[in-house]
Amino acid sequence: MPKLWLLPYFHTQPLGSTTFPSPTLAFCHSPMPKPWTPPPAPRRTATHQLPLVAEAESADLFGLGVLGVAWRGAAASSAVVEESRAGVARLPVAARLSHQQHVAQVGDVAGGQAQRLDLGQLPIGRLGGDEGAQRREGGVDAVGAVALSRVGRVPLPGLAVQPPGFLAAPPLAGFDAEAVGVQVEGLLVGARALAAVLLVLRQHADLGVQDIRNTVGNIPMEWYQDFPHIGYDLEGKRIYKPIRNKDELDKFLEKMENPDYWRTVQDKMTGADIKLTDEQVDLVHRLQKGQFGDVHFNPYEPAIDFFTHEVMIHPVTNRPADKRSFIPSLIEKEKVSKLVHAIKMGWIKPRKPKEDTPTYYDLWAHEDPNSILGRHKMHVPAPKMKLPGHEESYNPPPEYLLSEEEKLAWEQQEPAERRLNFVPQQYRCLRAVPGYPRFIHERFERCLDLYLCPRQRKMRVNVDPEDLIPKLPKPRDLQPFPTTQALVYRGHSSLVRCLSVSPSGQWLASGSDDGTVRFWEVCTARCMKTLPVGGVVKSIAWNPNPTICLVAVCVEQSVLLVNPCLGDKLLYGATDQVLESYVPPEEERVQPVQWVTATSEEHSRGIRLTVQHSKALKQVTWHGKGDYFATVVADNSNMQVLIHQTSKRWSQNPFRKSKGLVQCVLFHPIRPYFFVATQRYVRVYNLLKQELTKKLMANCKWVSSMAIHPAGDNVICGSYDSKLAWFDLDLSTRPYQLLRHHRKALRSVAFHKHYPLFASGSDDGTVIVCHGMVYNDLLQNPLLVPVKVLKGHTLTMDLGVLDVVFHPTQPWVFSSGADGTVRLYT
């Protein structure tokens, strides 16, 4: 009995019961083609192949039965198929598997619409594709296919149950039952969930032929690549590979010669070549095209609705209605009464009708002055949008359109920097005006401004600029002052560093970088005398004493006292006499300098005395009486300032300590005061008391020059940072006024002796003459008014005016410049 041999094959799958298939399924058990022989003792232990083998066996075993089911399934309604399914559940698995295959097919065939195949359960592609259509040597009949096609042709719906006799009738009536070995060769499942079973029955003409079925199951056949055999037959003996000694050439020849080469495939299981029949080839083609395997199967059968949409007049069932269907529900009643109660009590309110449209009313009907809060006064209303100008017009005047360069510049600017946030455009007519692409942007930016920008009330200065200009007395009312350039003294070949006018105002001495001192007649601009001194003349000073005709000249390390021998002969003769009347003291005193009397050659040139210092000199200046003079040495020691006495030929160093780099020194015109200007401060010393009286803060970086008002109470300081500081000594040690008139560094400043004028010369090539009135009334502050800007000097080597001097009696001013000229402005 089958259960006897089925059991051992299912040891991998626990089987619930060993009872045989339910009686609902009428299997026609075909007699075994061969008596059962137990499997060989050394059973292959590869478990994976066991169920497969079993399946093959069972398929073999139930082959005809399955077909029978197919018959019956086709004949019966789908309910029957269901039933059969239910029955299958109790079948042994192997049987169930094969059964399911067929049931599936039956369902398929039977309904045309009953596509409830469970693909997951099907062994798909067991012998897929062309492998499925295998061929054995000898005649092959696609009996299964024939049988199936017959099934397909059975008219499906509404058929009466087939008589059992029909069931019993085997489809293969023509075959001898004993001679027929049924073999289920494979099962094909198409992509569209249609199964096609290809049953290849092999007819063994004589019983002597052995069964060479392979029992290895569905395994990759390359596992047997290296073995001489290809698997095991039912008896457990090896199936040897057919001898294949075809080399490439043979294959090629066969390919060329054999007309059936294209339809020859190799059976992997047996290694044999199988030539496909025409039907098989057709089948393959159809499947490749995705058609049904059965030629005669019509997939487009008219669909028949069992349950239609039409309302039937008769009930489907004859069951009388329930009582509860016509008795009112108590539960519902309770619920309703609860709701009614809630509504009555006002717990549930009807939904308010939705108001979509806002209602408006007179919001400002009662304008309450109290409603204006304090915050409204604080509130800064948003500034309004700027109103558009002509350039925004769609048809602006042509001058508002941007030229090419302007457009380019506009494009290169940052969007925030642009003065216009659009490019003016001109359109011929209104119709041609396009929409503005940044409209929404601009509105949005406005919104951002409104809620993100801090607001502030900015006081706008609304001043007439003319009102800002201070009201000063008109220069016309402050005359006299030099207004025009009158004379130019030419002769020097290099920049003229210093100037000095004789006390009489008739002569002018100038020292230059070309190593000469020139004496000019003021009125005629005639050079009276040229004195080569052999070095750069840094400073020159005419003795202020009108009875002495003597000029101190700073050349390198020495001061030359020169008698220019100009003017009244008596005068300069007397000067010589005064100088010669010197009697050297008995005992030689230690002096910081050397007084040397001029040689005869020098004497003839006018040089009378030479005061030799140890270092280079910067400046020389006379005391008002004309006996003392002071020199400044370019040095950072305490020996920077020296005071000399001409009559005694005696020098002394007034300071014990250096207080910084001394820029210039001056004697007070009347009182015994001595002014020393360092870089930032001006120190005033009392010479009698020998003490510091005042320290003036110049408020500038580097003082360049200094001048003292003839009354002695006011000092002006020029500085290299183009400032002029006016100090009122009575007022404060800070500048009374800081004038920034020049654009470049100030080189020199000067006061007029009689007129209320002062002048400053600067590197920008101008001399600015200012009216500087000092009142005797102590309560009245000095009045400073610039009255004239004098131009004339040309800039050379970035230097303009180097020295400025006033004429002692006339309102004239001399200026020397880097261009090698001296100019007189009257």
Partner: protein, 587 residues
């Protein structure tokens, strides 16, 4: 060293300000909600004078609000509504997540809403305050009313904006308060004067917007939310000030005219009603039917300290205004279908003109093209095929220019296909020293009652012709010249002979040239020098200010000069081209 230690940043300006984040936390609102609140309440950040002090020593960039403002916000009832809304959204999301559709429906029905009436009243305690701030509201409403009804914002908002905008336009028409119009490349600017307040707004040209991605529509929608409320109340009040129904009703007869058979063609009555209203062709119904003209003569009270001249000027101004309001009175316009209907209809109706259009173009057309009483037809195409005698065919710019000029301009410049004169901005009032385009000068002259413009042009043309004639003559004369030259040579010889006889005298006196000293120039120079010297004496701060002012002035002058030079170059180029074409035509 007694007393409590004074802690830093616990008094003074540091306590008057609060940063945005702190404010947000104090109000317990999310940032978007805080933003909405600030927008609705009109709260803006403040810039402290000493930022570092307020920022507790840090110099990081922060936004500061006044603490008082935030405290004020704390009492705002809609803050609670915001919170409720947040909860509502949370509940709704939960209901959706659980697929409880019934709950979701119920929640949606009870969606918390808020009203902004009290905020409007609070922000604008008087009506005039509201009018002053109407510019942005109008511009925004006009923009939103042009939005498509998909995405971006709620359809109701768009509809409401459209409704309010149309209502406002109708009010302006009814009150004849439009003053200026300007066609710019950005859109159309309008300026109306309502209760003495100038209200300016801009409307985009009617094209589909390409919606930018870098714009936060939520912010704009919040603003619009407030603006619609504001505009609604303002409209209500304005309508009532004119004795008009609000919501507006179209005057009886017009209504009867449009209503009957056509009513069915339109989808909804309310919609067609709005359309009719937006056609701007019908006048509005009044609450009290106007029995007699409302124009009550205003009694004039002389203001203290006002001279007769000033009063006269005022009266004149009033008269001019009345005249301006009736600019198009009695004129009948017809708009071709290619001109923008709404702005033109609005402007024409604002100045008393009658206007109509093709029936198929829009609802509300009152008469046909073939109406013989039409005086002006507005056309925006190069030429008109079939012209009807008895009406002017004009380009739309004429209407706008006439409104701005306050008089009906000569029509010759605005015929179809003619190169239009420039369209000038009416918002520019030129000050001393500004550049004034020549067209504006012409216009000003025209307003004064002179008519110099055309004459000069004609003269110029004549001159040109004369010049050309001269040239022609020269060419003709050249042939004659040769014969003349020979005669001249003879004459010269004779003169020389005479001169030689004169040379017999040894002494010759030549008249000395009088060198005129230009006193004025000297004076000027002196003055300028004085000024320069005085500037030198200025204080540092004043000098800085002075220089700044002068710099601005100079820049202005430079720009004006540049524009003038450009114009001159353009004119000469144009003239030469004209000449060339003329010559070419002659040849």
């Amino acid at each position: 060293m007694g007393g409590l230690e004074k802690k830093k940043y616990q008094r003074g300006s540091a306590t008057n300000y609060i940063t945005r984040n702190k404010a947000r936390k104090k109000l317990q609102l999310s940032l978007p909600d805080f933003r909405r609140l600030c927008i609705l309440k009109g709260i803006y950040p403040h810039e402290p004078r000493h930022k570092k002090k307020v920022n507790k020593g840090s110099t990081a960039a922060r936004t500061f609000y006044l603490l008082k403002d935030i405290k004020f916000l704390l009492h705002e009832p809609i803050v609670n509504k915001f919170r409720e809304y947040k909860i509502f959204v949370r509940k709704l999301r939960k209901a959706y997540g659980k697929s409880e559709w019934g709950t979701a429906e119920r929640l949606k029905d009870n969606k918390p809403t808020y009203k902004l009436d009290h905020i409007v009243k609070e922000r604008y305690p008087t009506f005039v305050d509201a009018l002053r701030d109407l510019d942005d509201a109008l511009s925004m409403c006009f923009l939103f009313s042009t939005f498509p009804r998909t995405g971006k914002c709620h359809v109701q908002t768009i509809q409401l904006c459209r409704r309010l905008a149309v209502e406002f336009l109708n009010y302006v028409i009814a009150s004849r308060s439009l003053r200026k119009v300007f066609l710019s490349i950005k859109g159309i600017y309008y300026q109306a004067e309502v209760l003495g307040q100038p209200i300016t707004w801009i409307t985009p040209y009617t094209f589909a917007h390409d919606h930018p991605t870098d714009v936060d529509y939520r912010v704009m929608a919040t603003f619009t939310e407030f603006y619609t409320t504001l505009l609604g109340f303002v409209n209500f009040r304005l309508y009532h000030s004119l004795n008009l129904h609000y919501p507006p009703k179209i005057d009886g007869q017009a209504e009867v005219e449009v209503k009957p058979a056509e009513g069915k063609e339109y989808a909804m009555d309310s919609e067609s009603y709005l359309e009719k209203l937006s056609a701007l062709s019908a006048s509005l119904a009044r609450v009290v039917a106007p029995t007699q003209e409302d124009d009550v003569e205003m009694d004039e009270f002389p203001v203290e300290g006002e001279t007769a001249e000033q009063m006269d000027a005022r009266r004149k101004e009033q008269e001019a205004l009345e005249k301006h309001k009736k600019l198009f009175e009695g004129l009948r316009f017809f708009l071709n279908r290619e001109v923008p209907r709404e702005p033109l209809a609005f402007v024409i109706r604002c100045f008393g003109g009658q206007v109509s259009w093709d029936k198929s173009l829009c609802i509300g057309a009152t008469y046909d093209v073939s109406d013989p009483s039409i005086t002006h037809q507005i056309v925006d195409r190069p030429r008109v095929e079939q012209q009807v005698v008895g009406r002017y065919y004009l380009q739309p710019q004429w209407v706008f220019d006439s409104v701005n000029a306050k008089l009906c301009l000569p029509v010759a410049d605005y015929f179809p296909g003619v190169l239009l004169p420039p369209h000038l901005s009416p918002f520019v009032t030129e000050q001393e020293g500004d550049y004034i385009p020549p067209e504006k000068l012409k216009l000003l002259a025209m307003q004064r009652g002179e008519d110099p413009g055309e004459e000069t042009e004609e003269e110029e043309e004549e001159e040109e012709e004369e010049e050309e004639d001269d040239n022609d003559k020269d060419e003709e004369e050249e042939e004659e010249d040769e014969s003349e030259k020979e005669e001249e040579i003879k004459l010269k010889k004779m003169e020389e002979q005479k001169a030689q006889s004169n040379k017999a005298l040894p002494v010759k006196v030549t008249a000395g040239k009088v060198r005129l000293e230009d006193k004025q120039r000297l004076e000027q120079e002196q003055q300028s020098e004085e000024k320069r010297l005085a500037i030198m004496m200025m204080k540092k701060r004043e000098k800085y200010l002075y220089k700044k002012i002068m710099f601005g002035k100079k820049r202005k002058i430079r720009e004006a000069n540049k524009l003038a030079a450009k114009r001159k170059a353009h004119d000469t180029a144009l003239k030469e081209e004209k000449k060339k074409t003329k010559k070419a035509r002659r040849a």
